[in-house]
């Protein structure tokens, strides 16, 4: 048995209730949608890049607390970052949710709040939807991202 408080930590409840960087970004030069067909979560990611720097980033859409909080935390973590750094974070976040051992939570900052999702395999896709959408933006893809 897993304690629910590990999944719905305060950070997650807070970012779900008042998501940061929520809403359309008029200055975005990349806009991409992500879907989770299984549960109907859908979000749109707006990214404004300046060369290799993510100048600004926002999202909107609807989803469960895990997917909304994850997107909110992701946008916070990425603003002003170099794209290489964003790629590194994508990989690290993926490890956080899929690998059991050898994770030093301290290096994750606020993103560590999502570590509890590991114990709920059916919810991992909720947490990774925004990151997969971001990854597609970084790779220059135009077609909407689906987690299926």
């Amino acid at each position: 048995m897993f304690d629910l408080q590990d999944l719905y930590q305060e950070v997650i409840v807070d970012h779900n209730r008042s998501p940061r960087n929520f809403g359309k970004l008029e200055t975005a030069n990349h806009v991409l949608e992500g879907f989770n067909p299984l549960c109907g979560d859908r979000l749109t990611l707006y990214v404004e890049t300046d060369g290799d720097i993510i100048r600004n980033i926002s999202f909107d859409g609807s989803g469960c607390a895990i997917s909304v909080a994850s997107a909110s935390l992701m946008t916070e973590a990425l603003k002003g970052k170099h794209m290489d750094e964003a790629r590194r974070l994508f990989n690290e976040f993926h490890d956080l949710l899929t690998k059991d051992n050898d994770i030093d939570l301290d290096t994750y900052g606020k993103l560590a709040a999502l570590a509890g999702v590991r114990a709920y395999p059916s919810r991992v896709k909720c947490a990774t939807l925004c990151w997969h959408t971001l990854n597609a933006v970084l790779q220059g893809e135009q077609t909407p991202v689906s987690t299926e």
Binding site: M1, F2, L4, L7, Y8, V13, N16, R17, L38, C39, G40, D41, R42, S62, G63, C64, A65, I66, V68, Y120, S122, R123, C126
Partner: protein, 418 residues
Amino acid sequence: MNESVAAENLKTMPLDIEQIRRDFPILHQQVNGKPLVYLDNAATAQKPHQVIETVAAYYRLDNANVHRGVHTLSQRATDAYEGAREKVKTFLNAASEQEIVFVRGATEGINLVAQSFGRESLQAGDEILITEMEHHSNIVPWQMLCEQTGATLKYVSINDAGELNLEEFDRLLTDKTRIVALVHISNALGTINPVEAIIRKAHAVGARVLLDGAQAAPHIAVDVQALDCDFYVLSGHKLFAPTGIGVLYGKQSLLESMPPYQGGGDMIKMVSMKKTLYNDLPYKFEAGTPHISGAIGLGAAIDYLNNIGLDRIQQYEHELLEYGSRVLAGIDDLTIKGTAAKKTSILSFVLKGIHPHDIGTILDNEGIAIRAGHHCAMPIMERFGLPATARASLAFYNTREEIDRLAAAIIKCREIFN
């Protein structure tokens, strides 16, 4: 007291739920440290040990292929398989066993009708009328048929309570309508549709009617002759029987006029290199080795339901639904979706500010199984402007105590998020 009076008395006695629960071994376990509360019966129902044992005994004692052996086991397997067909015939009050086709489930039954009856008889300009409250399995096969034939698909809308807009049905039903296909009872809302009137009107314009009875057969008595429907489909696994078995009922004259759905063994009388003579009903539609143990398990499930009595089940579930609706309506920020005047044991709901998936996870942590999502009925979600709902679906083995635990867990969701 003579025996038939005793039997009659038994039929009017309230259900002994404790006794019934003992028939379902799966219910007696802990999930996440709490006694399991299974409220996902619309997705699939649990199996009584009478069904489990019948299937196991078939494999232990009688297993053989059907309709083809001269040996004793094959005869026994055939007798049991055909015996199950007879039970289904009586259960649905069909006129003959020849009208009962074993399929994989409701989905395959609908696809069979679309591809055999529909493909043969529809052409460009014809219309198929369905509703906004259909399961995807009663939408997609008709969309495919429309692509193949040039026919047009029309939808009857629903009102805020989740009932069909019948004036619109009257408007959309024309002499162009060839097929009317609709759900007898909605899996997402619980609405019981007024199918008798719909069938009468559809027949008046010469249309054929298919009823999707996946959610009806487990909850109310179905009489296909009284309904006068042309096709009726159901899924065994929602009727306390194994997965992978279902039933297509079709009026004999229609089934006879329809081409086979699949080709293979069992559906033929004679095959030469040039020509094949198709078998009689219902075998014409049962190509290949069927799901023998599934059919036998379905027969056992029907026996089990008959022993309890669908009338008593319906009465009990109705009381449970009323209790559940009252308890849930008393929770702040909770809205029940699907409030039709006539409905069965489905409680679809949303909680302000909390996504159904989060509700599903928190309830699971309390040992409570519900469904969260679009319930394979995305047009309904669109109609209500919702991405998803949480759905508790009841069966006759559920209790008021379980509803109370559901309510307590929902209140816990609010505590976590507020």
